[in-house]
């Protein structure tokens, strides 16, 4: 199952500057695992060691915010990895 992943600028050092990449997976967990295989280190910057999405990271599947990593992802969906405001 393939989706499009929109990459926020702070994470593009992992994607060689790409703002959008394709990924495989039927859930946010699987999509992030696919990204981690290709872009090592990226996942830990977004998800901590207790499997919690970090405070200033937001993940959306299309326009629906994924509060849990188990959120379903369908073929053709767009997953947005967003860096929320964190101060100056």
């Amino acid at each position: 199952m393939s989706c499009t992943v929109k990459i926020a600028s702070p994470l593009r050092s992992y994607t060689n500057g790409a703002a959008s990449v394709n990924a495989k997976g039927a859930s946010v967990t699987e999509v992030l695992a696919d990204l981690e295989r290709r872009f090592t280190g990226m996942r830990f910057r977004m998800v901590d060691e207790q499997e919690q999405i970090r405070r200033h990271i937001r993940i959306f599947v299309n326009t629906r915010e994924a509060k849990q990593l188990s959120e379903h992802v369908a073929a053709g969906d767009t997953v947005h990895l967003i860096c929320a405001l964190s101060g100056g």
Binding site: A8, P10, L11, T40, G41, F44, R45, M46, V47, D48, E49, Q50, E51, Q52, R54, H56, I57, C83, A84, S86, G87
Partner: protein, 376 residues
């Protein structure tokens, strides 16, 4: 012990917005600023490995992203992200989730343990790398110690709960110290498997019971490299000295001028003289401005193990200079005539090539400075 005259000096500067270096030849008259590297990254510590100076580690995060670490094997020209940054073990059911917010402190291991490094984090966690910083594992002896929830219960400083001042005894690689803000000073005699508080004699004015065994706020603990039984520390509540095997700290800050007091963040030791130490006092009165006192910054030095202190402010601003020097932002070099350096919250780096007798500003307009370390 002092370095050869032909050697150059490098200051690694970790700031709230990236990394910079200042480099000088052995004369230390002219400093060249380079950077930024990792512009926009929050960097708490950059440390070059004295056992293998090609290796440099950098503790990093950004405003949005979680913590990581970068590693260089060519003295900082190129950096790669480490493969496994410090992370707590997965919490078991019923246990509080602990996740590393920032890597705050880096310490190279014992001289004979090539490739070993220690890291301290916020919230307070101790981590070990055995491969030069590329992979990190939690040190269960501290992180899972039955008393850890009491020793480091998450009483955060404004920068979070911090584990810092990881000291490795040069005589015995298994003899370790560390500091927790807020929590206290702890000692291990078995390579980190077990720990004991080491806080007797230290004031804790912010607690109702001043005689507590832990819960103190050591800002920085240092150990003399040639006389490792001698420790000094700058605490939230004073300046202290300890000569092991004694377990009770002596408040040597009582000898500071009364109108200056003995509150501050950093303390720096002379690399060869265990009786000489420098501090940068700050205003810890009333609401704790934590600025230079009366807007008149000054270093103070003791030459006799804390029996007396002298003010050193020649060349520093005489008034209206309200900066702070954080705990990791002051260091000494290894030159025959010891150089002292500090960076401040206004992005200035000040240097003295004569053991604090006079000062010059060698960089300004940098971001807020968190740490300065010296390397050759």
């Amino acid at each position: 012990m002092h370095q050869k005259l032909s050697m150059s000096h490098t200051l690694w500067i970790a700031t709230r917005k990236g990394a910079f270096t200042l480099k000088s030849d052995a004369r230390r008259r002219k400093w060249n600023l380079s950077g930024p590297q990792f512009l926009g990254h929050v960097l708490h510590h950059i440390v070059q490995d004295p056992r293998d100076p090609k290796v440099v580690l950098m503790a990093a995060k950004t405003g949005h992203l979680g913590p990581t670490m970068f590693r260089s094997t060519d003295r900082g020209r190129k950096w790669t992200e480490v493969k496994q940054p410090p992370a707590f073990r997965k919490a078991v059911e019923g246990e509080a989730n602990r996740a590393v917010e920032a890597v705050f402190w880096l310490t190279p291991g014992h001289a004979k343990d090539k490739g070993v490094w220690y890291a301290g984090t916020s919230p307070a966690g101790l981590f070990l790398s055995a491969d030069g910083g590329d992979h990190w594992e939690p040190v269960a002896g501290f992180n899972d110690h039955p008393m850890r929830p009491q020793w480091a219960p998450g009483n955060a400083t404004p920068g979070g709960e911090l584990l810092h001042s990881i000291l490795v005894d040069p005589v015995d690689a298994k003899h370790l110290y560390l500091g927790v803000s807020i929590g206290g000073i702890f000692e291990s005699l078995d390579g980190g498997r077990n720990w004991q508080p080491l806080n007797r004699g230290i004031a804790a004015d912010f607690l109702p019971d001043a005689s507590v065994e832990f819960g103190h706020d050591p800002h920085l603990v240092v150990q003399h490299p040639l006389q490792p039984d001698r420790l000094y520390h700058q605490n939230h509540c004073g300046i202290y000295r300890l000569d092991r095997p004694v377990r009770e700290w002596q408040r040597i800050g009582k000898a500071m001028p009364k109108k200056i007091g003995d509150i501050g963040f950093p303390i720096v030791l002379h690399p060869r003289d265990p009786d000489t130490a420098w501090v940068f006092p700050m205003d810890g009165t009333s609401v704790w401005p934590r600025t230079s006192i009366d807007g008149k910054p000054a270093v103070h030095v003791t030459r006799n193990g804390g029996k007396s202190w002298q003010r050193q402010d020649k060349g520093l601003p005489k008034s209206q200079a309200w900066f702070t020097v954080y705990r990791q932002a002051m260091c000494a070099d290894t030159h025959k005539r010891t150089g002292i350096y500090f960076g401040n919250t206004q992005g200035e780096v000040w240097a003295s090539a004569n053991e604090g007798e006079s000062w010059q500003c060698i960089a300004r307009y940098l971001p807020q400075i968190f740490a300065i370390t010296h390397a050759v």
